[in-house]
Structures are given as structure tokens and as C-alpha cells.
Subunit: 411 residues, 2 copies
């Protein structure tokens, strides 16, 4: 890479990422909406549950008729019928009357509360003894207790969780409008790279980046599109990138590790229409030689050649890029989630002036979490496989000390 | 539910869940292996990378030839060639010689280290000035630095993450043996329940549980199988459960909320061959009326009728059940992960003798996380949609206090 013209601090890169526009929208069935991001607020078109329901098995009554009732001074009511599940009752509860009801049953007209079965006693076929008073609305859910007609139930930019789908089903939405899933074109470059199903000759290695990045995309609901392995050749790369830009929402070029590739990558990118280089190097380690650019509105990323560096950059910057393209709101709690506190097992030295991401393995000792740094070369994949997460050493810190409390960003 | 005969403490339920056997195995392509659980240890059949590689752009040398080299007293070496990416070099580096090499290139015979480009200078076409000494093995990755032939790289019971797939590709495994994904038959019961695409009549509600449970299954790699809505009828439920057991690995019956259903559920289950009731009530709130049983080797679960109760039980107990069936090792760090520390916004009262799960919303204030309890009826879905997670009030605690530090189990 011919020098870095545009080395950015990590937070500048996050700002640049936020400058990309979320993708357009599409309608999906609820069955396939898990993890999708809402592109519009969802407003309830009805009250939920839509009628007053009992939350208990018991008797629907007028609360007033039970006032003062105790075990020794029970109220006596006349049982005039039963509410059947799923039916609208055709009975009205009048003064001094009760109607049998089940959990979830529709409260009959006239009744305003439910007495639990446990506090009732049938004296004969029609005489009900109530041993405890209830207040109006006791043991009932009102017609709009869950959602009111016109109420916003979920906001634009929200990533759908299991219970959100239940709520959407509850208000009768069997499909939902969401942002499109980002399609990520993945290009592996390098004359030394061969497909994973091929036996490498001496000097060749199998393509690991393809699988790393594809799976990372899948893990956050993006769709990987494998373009293939490109040799270190200007025309070949230009053709592949042009094709990728046609077909995908973002293009990720993972470095051949050869020196030549980086240069070719940038040279190729510079031939693209409406191209702009946004980041040419990030002040992090590992992962400095990262390119972030755009062609038109589409982000193009050049990832480092070393397999672990590339993957760390992908975890730290590409996941947020995918969330941005997916239209997901920046989680206000992001810096708390997916992290655990641990005690550092050994000193970590770090050059100041760059953010350093150290792979760590978690150990449990005396009920405490210990983070043990794994100091492997960034060209190796095994230290990343052995690690449970990353510890970030701040740009203004010269290192972290054994015994120090650290936050581990979990994979 | 006719009394609880077999109320268990939560940890007893977890032990019972661990008593179920993991499912059998199948071979899947790496492309679809993300999140799958290894059913066997993976052993590398080769050294990785398989040859000695340069980690830098520079010159392959015999380290000894550079000893003592400084900027003012450089070593002079003869450039005898270049290693091309992906090729096995046919040159041998002899005493006093150097060979140009790129990052990832194969180290030629005779060389034992690489001098970085930055510390070198070509004086003429063949004379290389080296301004810094290197030690043997500097700037190289050995043939087995990543993995040694015969080394176990990933253990049985491990759930595959993105970088694991890269490593598998690296050693040439394009498919992998994993546990089957649990197929979960989901039955919604209740005369009042109608499909989500239907407009409920007064007294009817749409089926929310189906979507809640299906999505929860998907979220951990299980496969939901929707059996349909069953009326509160012995024969209908018996037929549906029998069919479900034939087709799925586990059957989840979510309560109609009507009183009758619970009884019918257990009556139906008791007619199944080789049936054993393991749990009939859990000492938690909400979610007490939960059934865990087995028919043969397959777990059958009866979930509470109230939609929020059912979902909380599913988060707390059904996710671990699915992990167990998937063959995943119990994560030793489970109690640290997916949780955040927060300060409680308000008091929570709780009856001792049962574990209570309180839905909370997270708020950020003065850089601190606040957990605000949402006290909604368990028959409502909205409090679960509004919540970010759950706070567990211990069985031996009578409540938690405002300002107290709590762990929030995130959704």
C-alpha cells in the first residue's frame, strides 16, 4: 500500500459509516421477519385484545355485589350462566348475579370484575358463595390494555425479536415492511489463494476470508454473494468489481496478502464512476491497511490481507456498516451489550496513537472471569478461533496491566 | 390445572433438561454451517499454512548475514531473485544472498527470516543494503504455526462462529459433521384462538404464541414446525400430539388460556407410549403452570396460557432445552454473557419461595444503565415488547430495592 493518505481515527470511521443510506424496503411475511429491521413505524389498527377478558378462572360479577364479603360473611350470588371460550356471551350480569368464566374468556355485559375460583363455593346448583371482595377491574384485561387503536407499537429502525412477531400477529399483521437485507459481494484476491476444496500446491493457501466474511454477514442478516477468487491483475479485478457493484449493495475486497494487490485494488477503485475514497488506513492495530470508499451510494471496502486483521476489522467496523445499511437504529446500549467484565491475566503493551484490539480467551477462576491475551501473529487464524473476544486498548493508553478490569467484546 | 404434583425448583428443571440426549448427526456444507454445533472433535489433517511464509513485504535472507547491520553500518547482500505469490520458489538463498518476497510468499530454501522492505535499499540492480539485523524466524510464519497435523482445532459441542468456518476452510474441510437441528412441533390450543390472518369475532384472539415460539426456535438454530391451532378437545389434541411426535424432535403445546385445556393436555399426554411426567409446575413467576415431560426420548412441553408467561418460560428454559438437543456444551460463561449490569429504578416486591422474572426497560442516564421494571399483566404481550430484558429476583429474596445493582438478562 503506497502510504496512507487518509488515515482515520476509529470514531471518524464510524461517522463515515453512518453517512451511508439505509437500503430500500420490502414486504415480508411474519414467518421470515425475525431479525429484520422495520422501515416504518408499526401502528396498531385495532384495540388488543379487542374485548374485556378474564385473567383468571372464576366468576364474572359486579364488584359492588362482593363488597364486604369475607370467609365468615360471604356474599351470595345467583349463577346465571357460563361464558364459553371463544364465544361472545349472550348473558348480562345483573345485580346479585354471577357468570362462570375461564381465563381469557370475554367478560359479559354488566360484569366489571372476576372473582377467582379459589374464593368461591357453589352452595347448590345456582347459589354461589363469594368469600372475598373484588374491586372493579380486578382480574380483567381491558379491550385496549395491550394496544390501543392508533398506537405506535414498534418504531422504524427496530430489529424484530421473537416477541415482536407475536405482537404483530396479535394485531393481525401477517406481513411487515422492512429494510432490504444488504447483499455483500465478497471478493478474495491473491495469486496464492485457491478454493477451499482444492489441495494447495506449495506456496498456495486456501481461501479462508470467503467463509469468515460470508458467515459474519449471515450472523447479522446480510446476504453474502461470493464473487470468487481474483488474481492480482488489474483487468480481472476491474471486471469483478464492476460486476459485483451491479449485483450487490456493498463490495468487500479482501486482500491478497501480496503487496501488489493493495495497489491494484485502489487503482481499480479509482476507475469506478462517482468514486470517492473515504478512509485509507485506520489508526487501529491490527487492521490499519483498511480502505473504505464509495462508488455512487455503495460502500466498497478493502480489507487487510492478514486473515485475523481482516476479521477483527470486520467485527469492529463491518458489522456496524451492515447494521447501517439494514436501517437499524444505533443501539443506545451497544457499548454495554455483548460485553463482559473480566480481569486481565497478563500485561498488554500497546503503542499509543492507535486503538489496539487484543484477542483474549476467557477463563473462570474463583467465580471470576479472567481475560487471557492471545498474542498470535495476525496472519494466523488459530488465535482468533481460540479467542472468546477482543479487548480494546485505548488510543491514549500505553498498555493495560495484569489484574486490571477490562471489557471483553464477545464474538 | 388440577394442582401441581411435581413442582420443581428452576435448577432442578435445568438438570432434567440436561437429561435429554442430543440429537444425531449430519454432514453439512461449510456455507450452511454457521451456528451449527459440532458433533465430533475436528482434527487437522495437515499443517497450516503448510509452508513457511513471509508476514511482510521485504527480502528473504539468512539472518546471520544481517547480524550487526545498522543504518550507518549496513549489511550488503546480493539480490538473486524474487518469490512470486502462489509459487514455490526454485531459488536457494545462500550465504550473502537475498531474495525479494511479498507478504504471504513462500520462504525459499536457505532463508530463515525476512527483512522488512522499510529497512532495505537497493544500491544497484543486484546490491541490497540491509540497515537492520533480523533474528532467525523474524517476520515468518512456520508451516505449522496455525495448526499442526493431528491437532484438535475445535471441540465437539462447539457452536460454529464465523472465524471457525474460516479455519475449517483453511484446513480443507468444505463440509463438517454437526448435530441435527431440533425440529420443534408447535401446537396452539384453545377454542378462542384463531389464525393471525383471520379477523377475530368478539371473544376470539389471534394466535400469538405460534409466532413467538417459532421465532425463538429460529433464533437458536432450531426448526419450527407449525402444527396448527387445536380446539379444547381430547381426540383432536391426541391426534395432533401423536402426529407431532412422529414428525418432530420435541413438541411444545402452548396453553389455550382456558382452564379446561391444561387438564386435557395432561390427560392426552398420559395416553402416550412410554410417557413420563418430569415437571408439573416450576417455582417461578410468571410461568408456574409449565409441564415438562417425555414420550420415549422426546421432550414434550406444556407452556402457560398467558402469552408473556409462556414467552418468559421459553426464554429461560426452552432455549437451554434447544441447546441441549443441539448438542451444545453448556457454556461455562453463560451466566456472564447476554447480561448487563444496571441500577434498579424502582423497588420490586416478590414472594419468597419462587424465582421471579421481572421485565425491565433499559434507560441510559448520566452514562449509567438504569433498569426500569415494567409491571404489566402476564396475559399481555406489550410489556414484553417494551422490555429489553428480564431481572431475576432470587427465590430467597423478598424483593429488590431502588438503586440496587442488578443483572439484566437481555432478550
Amino acid at each position: 500500500m503506497k502510504g496512507f493518505f487518509n488515515v482515520k481515527k476509529p470514531w471518524e470511521v464510524f461517522d463515515i459509516i453512518d453517512g451511508f443510506a439505509p437500503l430500500g424496503e420490502e414486504e415480508v411475511l411474519l414467518e421470515s421477519a425475525l431479525g429484520r429491521v422495520l422501515s416504518r413505524d408499526v401502528v396498531s389498527l385495532q384495540d388488543l385484545p379487542g374485548f374485556t377478558r378474564s385473567t383468571m378462572d372464576g366468576y364474572a360479577v359486579r364488584a359492588k355485589d362482593t363488597f364486604g364479603a369475607t370467609e365468615s360473611m360471604p356474599a351470595l350470588l345467583e349463577l346465571v350462566g357460563e361464558v364459553y371460550m371463544g364465544d361472545a356471551p349472550d348473558i348480562t350480569v345483573k345485580k346479585g348475579e354471577a357468570v362462570k368464566i375461564h381465563t381469557g374468556g370475554m367478560l359479559p355485559d354488566g360484569a366489571d370484575s372476576v372473582v377467582m375460583l379459589e374464593y368461591c363455593n357453589m352452595l347448590d346448583e345456582t347459589t354461589l358463595e363469594v368469600q372475598r371482595s373484588v374491586a372493579p377491574l380486578d382480574n380483567v384485561i381491558l379491550a385496549d390494555d395491550d394496544y390501543k387503536k392508533g398506537q405506535c407499537i414498534l418504531k422504524k429502525g427496530h430489529r424484530l425479536r421473537p416477541q415482536d412477531l407475536g405482537a404483530l400477529a396479535g394485531i393481525g399483521l401477517v406481513s411487515v415492511t422492512v429494510h432490504k437485507r444488504p447483499m455483500v459481494a465478497i471478493i478474495s484476491t491473491g495469486n496464492e489463494v485457491v478454493p477451499a476444496d482444492q489441495t494447495p500446491l506449495p506456496g498456495q493457501v486456501r481461501d479462508m476470508n470467503r467463509y469468515n466474511f460470508s458467515a459474519l454477514c449471515e450472523s447479522c442478516g446480510a446476504v453474502p454473494l461470493h464473487m470468487g477468487i481474483c488474481r492480482d491483475n488489474f483487468d480481472a479485478l476491474q471486471n469483478m468489481v464492476t460486476d459485483a457493484l451491479d449485483r450487490a449493495d456493498t463490495v468487500w475486497i479482501s486482500g491478497g496478502s501480496s503487496v501488489g494487490t493493495r495497489d491494484i485494488t485502489l487503482e481499480v477503485l479509482e476507475t469506478l464512476p462517482d468514486f470517492r475514497l473515504l478512509v485509507h488506513g485506520i489508526s487501529i492495530s491490527p487492521g490499519k491497511p483498511t480502505i473504505v470508499a464509495r462508488a455512487g451510494t455503495k460502500p466498497i471496502v478493502g480489507l487487510p490481507g492478514h486473515v485475523s486483521s481482516a476479521m477483527i476489522v470486520a467485527y469492529i467496523f463491518m458489522l456496524p456498516l451492515l447494521c447501517r445499511l439494514s436501517g437499524e437504529n444505533r443501539d443506545p446500549f451497544a457499548r454495554f451489550k455483548g460485553r463482559v467484565d473480566a480481569v486481565l491475566e497478563r500485561n498488554i503493551e500497546s503503542a499509543s496513537g492507535r486503538e489496539e484490539y487484543v484477542r483474549v480467551k476467557l477463563i473462570q477462576r474463583d467465580g471470576k472471569l479472567i481475560a487471557d491475551p492471545i498474542f498470535g501473529k495476525s496472519g494466523l487464524i488459530s488465535p482468533l478461533v481460540d479467542a472468546d473476544g477482543l479487548v480494546c486498548v485505548d488510543m491514549n493508553t500505553e498498555g493495560l496491566y495484569e489484574g486490571q478490569q477490562v471489557k471483553v467484546i464477545l464474538f
